[in-house]
């Protein structure tokens, strides 16, 4: 049994008041975490099984006997269990709960088993269950014990009432998989890139690229390069190497066809009568290019399908593992199946797609179609955690199979062993040996974020796949799950194009919420309304994509699509537009009918019974002059971004008219803002859709800034940054947590001025600031340059008080020897004077204060029986908040968590900020009586900021907040400050709404006898005289940021020095100093302060007196002479007199030339280093008086 803490049954006192809280209150919060949880659910429900089915069977051939006996291995019926107590008895299945894992530093993982099928030759299939170790289980996924628990049950299990899951617990740390941007799956993209030229001679910078994704989420990217001679090459990667095939071979190998058919298919998109018309993508060059492609085949003398397959098989057999004995045509088929357009199963579809891609490529070359921008969200999707784990696990299992094959074969070769290949038990024994590596690899991936993969899984990066879900405060925690990273490789790129905010990402990625600095524009956050399509339909069943595609095809044929099969002579754009569904050419629609067809499909999307999913993306790219390549691109795939908008053509209105749209289709849609206007649209392009609310394009954090529409935009970005650094109420289950560091605000408040998102996302459960009375005036001079003055009495009454909780985990088992014998136990010395501060068990008392260097705990070596105390780290006192013991070890207590609490009351140098990007540092704790006071109310401000903070920063929202909070508090009500709310009132009752906001706030004030503009007459606290002007004063919600001086200050006089240079070391952790560098040196030089310079750079640094030989000029040859020891008579009480050291020059063999010279020690080091390179440094010494 585990007994964590002394009060394991005690639950937060607040929980009783939480009775009223229902799960539905947190529904919106849960929605934010769905991409993580749903994708992992899919992994559990179907993804794992599909991945196993897609693993290639492995064959082991017994070559020694000469007979072709085969053992074919493949997987079936995987089984993943909920987390259970490991090492317990089998009969007792005890669930492990997440909090136990957090406390004990364990992992929340479940047992993973699967059956491996063996088949000898054509014999019966034998199934054997293998244990693959423990896979990490995502919290709140279907295998998590907390799934579906209501807030009360969550609190009972020592979790947050809001617990949303979506992360893993590995070694006690909460980690989540990062959402990564990938290029859109199954969509051919025309690209122009310089690097394509380097593929070889004759290559141009143009290509069409498609990232094909299989049903099991593994991907293969295929590139179609354009050659200067008019031909094209198909490039694909096998085991980290790119292979290029002439496109003609692939075309011929895919289907039985003749040259004419290929020629006609290619030239469908060019008709002379449409030349240079709108939407004409083909030119007459296309015919010539088709000829070149076919001529190439002639040159290789490949004419038939079988010849082409044979050719491919011949070239690829060495790189296709496990196919060494197959015939060339089988290998050729396998190459086409496994590496070319893997998302399609039929070769006809692949052929059509390749033709389409060639046409697109030629259109790109002829500039009749524009290249697609790979940096635009239009061509992107997101990597979901569940999918990542699926493909990673698949690869690891595949690797395990091939490793097993190698091991079994090795075993067979060994002469002396009597290994029986036909004895299944023996084979299983070998295979069992490293079955655990599979899930260990997955766990390591989550632990370190590194992909240990040979193929790279067609992913853009190999590390940084997972991050720690810090609970610094609630917003930071949420933001981790909403963040989308562009890819680590772009962070090092010099160009800024990838970082640009493109209009395509409107409504999907928040334009405000991105950090400034290094990851700017690369680390984006999804908007509050943005979702990610999943493999689950709205009823929670796994989607059947085959069925969905069937019904879409049926619907399309109903609106006039000509299907691509049977193959007929076809037309191309602009006459007809091709219809692609998930990268498969379904057919074509005549361009006159297409608009109607699109509108029809959109209406079908909205109805639940049509069988067409609500998240279908209807990307209709209309005919244009040199724009994007036209066509109707439909996507049903998971991992796409979607967001809700209102469809205006749907007559019923209300919730049924909410359509989910993706970034691809959005670019070609007419969506109007919800302000009642039409956004300057002409009648020819009427709006078909409408935004639900104008704040829909902001992320959760950006949505919390009150009146952000009145602020200068960079200030809102700063606020998004600072909101995530705020010290707040980080966790309600604080008592049961063992985080390394937790910040906690003692007396947080709910903001008076708040947006609708504040209550929607239950931020009141984790408040993050204080409503401080802020006066805007220049007072005392201590508020210059963004400094702010805090009222000392307010701080004494508890304003912005906080704590830092730090947990120290002490694990004595780490010190034990290999046999696992207990070497050290917690114990206290019997000596009464020693460590009297500690309890009898060697651990500190709860609530006790521990001063620096005083013992934190005491332990005893079981062999020597010598007690030893371990001092507390850090230079400031701490309180013991909690001591929790690990009761799992049998004999002796070996592992404890000691949670320390460090008070952090506001002091000079601490950082604060309002919610409008106005940060400041506390410069003084000013006495209450010296603060200015209001004549009417006698109120003294809590905080004074300088009026200069406003003109250049233009944070009008903060001024509004001050007025509104003053009015709100006078009336006893919260004030809604949702941005753009004035323009969303579309009734048009007042034309100048922005005036009326100020009017409304002003009236709030005047009705309670305050000044309309929020000004008040104030008196100087020091003189009692009226201040020359009226002062703007009112409550503003202030956040305390986590940057505190007590964690940062650095001071040093003497101390540790560097071993080599003997200069003072840097770094606060080691008691180092702050570097006095070149620039600082320059300024001292400029001031002519020579002595100060000498003091800083020499006396206080590496002052050294060297002995230099005047004769040879060397500083390295000085050696001490051992004098004959004179018998020094020891006088009692006095230390023996030191014999003076004397030096001699080793080179000159004399001590006559020895002189002492003061110099920096590094100079001596330099001389030594140079000497090592055979360079002699010699000094010319001169007596100063002789100069």
């Amino acid at each position: 049994m585990v007994a964590w803490g002394q009060d394991s049954a005690g639950v937060d006192g607040n929980s009783l008041e939480k009775k009223g809280k229902l799960e539905s209150d947190y529904q919106h919060l849960r929605e934010l975490f769905k991409p993580h949880v749903e994708s992992f659910d899919y992994f559990i429900d179907a993804g794992l099984e599909i991945a196993l089915m897609n693993i290639k069977p492995t064959e082991i051939t017994d070559s020694s006997t000469g007979t072709k006996l085969r053992n074919i291995l493949f997987f079936s019926s995987p089984d993943l269990l909920s987390p259970e107590r490991e090492g317990g008895r089998k009969s007792m299945r005890e669930p492990v709960f997440p909090y136990e894992c957090r406390q004990s530093g364990g992992s929340y993982r479940g047992k993973f088993t699967a059956e491996v099928c063996f088949q000898y030759n054509d014999g019966a299939v034998i199934r054997e269950t293998f244990n693959f170790g423990f896979l990490p289980i995502m919290l709140m996924s279907k295998l998590c014990h907390l799934r579906g628990a209501d807030p009360r049950k969550l609190v009972f299990h020592k979790e947050e009432a809001t617990e949303m899951g979506g992360y893993f617990i590995c070694n006690g740390l909460e980690r989540l998989c990062r959402l990564l941007i990938l290029s859109k799956r199954n969509h051919p993209m025309a690209m122009v890139r310089k690097s394509f030229c380097s593929r070889g001679d004759g290559y141009t910078d143009k290509a069409v690229v498609i990232r094909c994704v299989r049903e099991d989420q593994s991907a293969v990217t295929v590139k179609l390069y354009y050659l200067q001679n008019g031909s094209a090459r198909l490039g694909f990667w096998i085991q980290g190497k790119e292979y290029l095939l002439p496109v003609g071979i692939v075309l011929k190998a895919l289907v039985d066809s003749n040259d004419r058919e290929i020629y006609v298919s290619l030239t469908t998109c060019y008709k002379e009568k449409y030349h240079r018309e709108r939407g004409a993508v083909g030119t007459q060059l296309i015919g010539e290019r088709a000829k070149i492609i076919l001529d190439e085949m002639k040159g290789l003398s490949l004419f038939t399908r079988s010849q082409c397959l044979h050719h491919i098989g011949n070239s690829f057999r060495p790189v296709m593992g496990g196919m060494e004995t197959e015939s060339y045509s089988v290998v050729g088929d396998a190459v086409l199946r496994d590496y070319i357009f893997v998302h399609l199963s039929s070769n006809h579809d692949k052929f059509n797609l390749l033709i389409f891609m060639l046409q697109k490529l030629f259109a790109l070359v002829d500039s009749t179609a524009a290249p697609d921008n790979p940096d635009a969200l239009v061509n992107q999707e997101v990597l979901q955690p569940g999918h990542l784990i699926t493909i990673y696990l698949k690869e690891k299992l595949q690797e395990w199979l091939s490793k097993c094959r190698r091991l079994v074969q090795d075993e067979m070769i060994k002469p002396n062993k009597n290994f029986d290949f036909y004895n299944l038990a023996q084979v299983k024994k070998i295979m069992d040996r490293n079955a655990g590596t599979v899930s260990r690899a997955v766990e390591n991936m989550i632990k370190t974020g590194k992909l240990a993969s040979s193929s790279g899984l067609d992913l853009p990066q190999r590390d940084g796949m997972s991050i720690v879900a810090e609970r610094l405060n609630f917003l930071r925690f949420i933001s981790h799950f909403r963040s989308v990273h562009r890819g680590a490789s772009f962070a090092r790129m010099r160009t800024t194009t990838v970082r640009k905010l493109l209009p395509e990402s409107w409504g999907f990625l928040c334009p405000v919420h991105t950090p400034d600095g290094e990851p700017c524009g690369l680390l984006n956050h999804m908007t509050a309304t943005c979702r990610v399509t999943s493999n689950f339909d709205s009823q929670g069943f796994v989607k059947d994509f085959v069925k969905i595609r069937m019904s879409i095809t049926k619907a399309l044929i109903g609106v006039g699509m000509t299907p691509s099969l049977p193959r007929l002579e076809r037309a191309g754009p602009p006459e007809v537009l091709f219809v692609l569904l998930d990268g498969c050419i379904l057919g074509s629609i005549v361009s006159d009918k297409i608009e109607k067809a699109v509108a029809h499909i959109r209406l079908l999307k909205l109805s639940a019974i049509s069988g067409i999913p609500a998240d279908l993306e209807v990307g209709y790219v209309p005919l244009s002059m040199g724009g994007a390549y036209p066509g109707l691109y439909l996507f049903t795939s998971p991992s796409r971004f979607i967001r809700p908008v209102r469809n205006l053509s749907h007559h019923s209105g209300g919730d049924t008219a909410i359509e989910l749209i993706g970034p691809f289709e959005q670019a070609f849609m007419e969506i109007k803002c919800a302000d009642g206007g039409d956004g300057g649209r002409s009648d020819s392009f009427p709006a078909t859709h409408e935004e639900i609310h104008p704040t829909g394009f902001l992320s959760v954090v950006a949505n919390l800034t009150p009146w952000s529409d009145h602020n200068q935009s960079p200030r809102n970005m700063y606020q998004c940054q600072m909101a995530k650094q705020t010290m707040g109420f980080s966790s309600q289950a604080l008592k049961f947590r063992a985080d390394n560091k937790l910040y906690h605000l003692q007396t947080p408040q709910s903001p008076i001025v708040r947006t609708t998102a504040y209550s929607k996302y239950c931020i009141d459960d984790y408040p993050m600031g204080t409503n401080a009375i802020v006066a805007v005036l220049a007072y005392s001079g201590y508020d210059m340059e963004d400094a702010m003055i805090l009222n000392k009495s307010s701080v004494e009454r508890g304003l912005c008080r906080g704590h830092i909780y730090q947990t120290e985990t002490i694990d004595l088992t780490k010190k034990s020897d290999k046999s696992g014998k207990v070497l050290e136990i917690f114990a206290k010395s019997n000596c009464p004077d020693q460590n009297s501060e500690l309890d009898a068990d060697g651990l500190p008392y709860v609530g006790q204060i521990i001063h620096p260097t005083k013992p934190l705990y005491s332990s005893c070596n079981t062999l020597t029986n010598i007690p030893k105390t371990t001092p507390m780290k850090g230079s400031e006192p701490a309180f013991v908040d909690c001591v929790s013991l690990d009761g799992t070890t049998k004999s002796h207590l070996q592992k404890v968590n000691i949670r320390l609490r460090r008070p952090r009351n506001p002091v000079i140098g601490d950082k604060f900020s309002s919610r409008h990007g106005q940060k400041g540092v506390c410069s003084q704790l000013w006495p209450d009586i010296d603060m200015p006071f209001s004549a009417v109310t006698g109120m003294r401000p809590d905080l004074i900021i300088n009026p200069h903070a406003f003109p250049s920063r233009m944070t009008i929202g903060m001024l509004l907040e001050s007025i509104a909070a003053k009015g709100g508090s006078a009336h006893g009500q919260f004030v809604d400050a949702t941005p753009f709310s004035s323009c969303s009132k579309s009734d048009g009752d007042s034309p100048s709404e922005s005036d009326s906001l100020h009017d409304y706030l002003g009236r709030l004030l005047t009705s309670k006898g305050f000044n309309y503009h929020g000004l008040e007459v104030m008196y100087s606290g020091v003189f009692g005289t009226e201040l020359a002007c009226e002062i703007f004063i009112g409550p503003v919600y202030y956040q305390r940021l986590r940057h505190m001086v007590s964690d940062k200050f650095q001071v040093r006089s003497t101390g540790t020095v560097d071993q080599i240079t003997r200069q003072p070391i840097g770094g606060r952790k080691w008691g180092g100093g702050i570097r006095f560098g070149e620039m600082e040196r320059d300024s001292l030089l400029a001031h002519g302060t020579a002595y100060l310079l000498h003091d800083r750079l020499h006396s206080c640094s590496d002052y050294h007196i060297a002995d230099v030989c005047r004769l040879c000029g060397s500083i390295l040859t000085a050696t001490t002479i051992q004098r004959h020891k004179r018998a020094v008579r020891e006088i009692s009480g006095l230390p023996p007199a030191k014999t003076p050291k004397s030096y001699t020059c080793q080179a000159c063999k004399t001590s006559t030339g020895m002189e002492t010279v003061a110099m920096p020690y590094v100079f001596r080091y330099l001389a030594a280093e140079l000497a090592a390179m055979n360079i002699r440094v010699s000094l010319n010494l001169k007596d100063g008086s002789n100069i």
């Binding site: 009060d7 006192g13 008592k735 000392k792 009495s793 006071f933 004549a935 009417v936 009692g1024």
Partner: protein, 338 residues
């Protein structure tokens, strides 16, 4: 207000700045007081305000020894909350600061400088138990928490019935099985050291306004103009006489010196419609007490403290005369004068 205009006899230069300030009490309750202070200047008024806020001594819990705390709040938090509970401090002026106390070493046993409180609460029911100021026990009933003392008085007046809706200032809430046991020592202190010792919730004063309406100009306004002019002041300073349709000053002290009416007059195009001056020598004080000391006592104590401070200045003046350091200097000056 006898003798409070101290410092009048200072100097020796012959000119006396002595004034005789007058105080008129307008309103006086236990926790609230409003009075006029006339015939003095802003320095005096502000000195009084500052002393009331930060130098009138009170009693507050200063030292907490926690024996058992299994509540959800940590020890410092509870100690801080205890400190902020106002205690009846009418005896504070007679008590000693524990740093000056000769009779003890500040351990709380001393009757001259400290009072001991005990708190011992344990929740044994399924309902959340509120630990309040009423649970602070003290042998000396003169030092009860303010709200407890007031309720006791109110209960006496109401015939021994305790108002159930008032359970005192909540310190912490306890769940079943949680316990809080502590010993707290209250000491005398002043607001300058810590806000918990400040007896004043709000002390403010304003200059008495003098409002002159230019009646002639006012009569040129129409009825509606007058109304809108009156409305322009956020506070009800002016009013319209319903009979004579004349603008009258309804409440001059409601004026907040916001100059809204003057701006309004200019906006109408009638500058000089009204002239408002602040009287430099008359102040209207508003004093609100935390309850630790009655407002009246607070003012009186403030005057007492101010007197002590002035005495200290005078005393240090005398000392300086005899100061050895300046001995030569003063002798020289005096010698020269002689």
């Amino acid at each position: 207000m006898e003798g409070a205009g101290g410092g009048g006899s200072g100097g020796g230069s012959g000119v006396s700045y002595q004034r005789f300030p007058r105080v008129r009490i307008r309103e006086m309750k236990d926790e609230y007081m409003k009075f006029e202070l006339r015939d003095t200047d802003a320095s005096m008024a502000n000195a009084l305000r500052r002393v009331m806020l930060s130098e009138v001594p009170t009693i507050a819990i200063d030292l907490v020894e926690i024996e058992v705390n299994s509540s959800v709040l940590n020890d410092e938090f509870i100690a801080h909350r205890l400190g902020l509970i106002p205690l009846c401090s009418e005896r504070a002026m007679e008590m000693r600061f524990s740093r000056d106390c000769d009779a003890c070493d500040g351990d709380g046993e001393c009757p001259y400088c400290s009072i001991e409180f005990q708190l011992n609460v344990r929740c044994d029911s399924d309902q959340t138990l509120d630990v309040t100021s009423a649970d602070l026990h003290c042998h000396d009933h003169r030092f009860l928490p303010v709200d407890v003392a007031q309720r006791a008085l109110a209960a006496e007046a109401a015939g021994g019935y305790d108002a159930p809706e008032q359970r005192g200032i909540i310190i912490v809430k306890l769940r079943r099985g949680q316990e809080l046991r502590l010993r707290a020592i209250a000491r005398k202190g002043i607001g300058k050291d810590h806000a918990k010792w400040s007896p004043g919730a709000t002390v403010t004063f304003m200059y008495e306004p003098e409002i002159h309406i230019n009646e002639e100009l006012m009569e040129t306004l129409t009825h509606n103009e007058k109304l809108s002019w009156i409305e322009s002041s956020p506070t009800k300073v002016f009013d319209l006489d319903p009979k004579t349709d004349q603008v009258i000053v309804a409440d001059p002290e409601a004026y907040t010196y916001d100059e809204e009416v003057i701006k309004k007059a200019e906006a109408i195009g009638k500058p000089g419609l009204v002239e408002i001056y602040a009287r430099e020598d008359s102040f209207i004080f508003t004093v609100e007490s935390t309850g630790a000391i009655p407002a009246y006592q607070m003012v009186m104590n403030a005057i007492e403290v101010l007197k002590q401070k002035l005495d200290a200045v005078r005393l240090s003046d005398d000392i300086q005369d005899n100061d050895d350091q300046f001995g030569d200097l003063t002798r020289n000056i005096q010698g020269a004068a002689l």
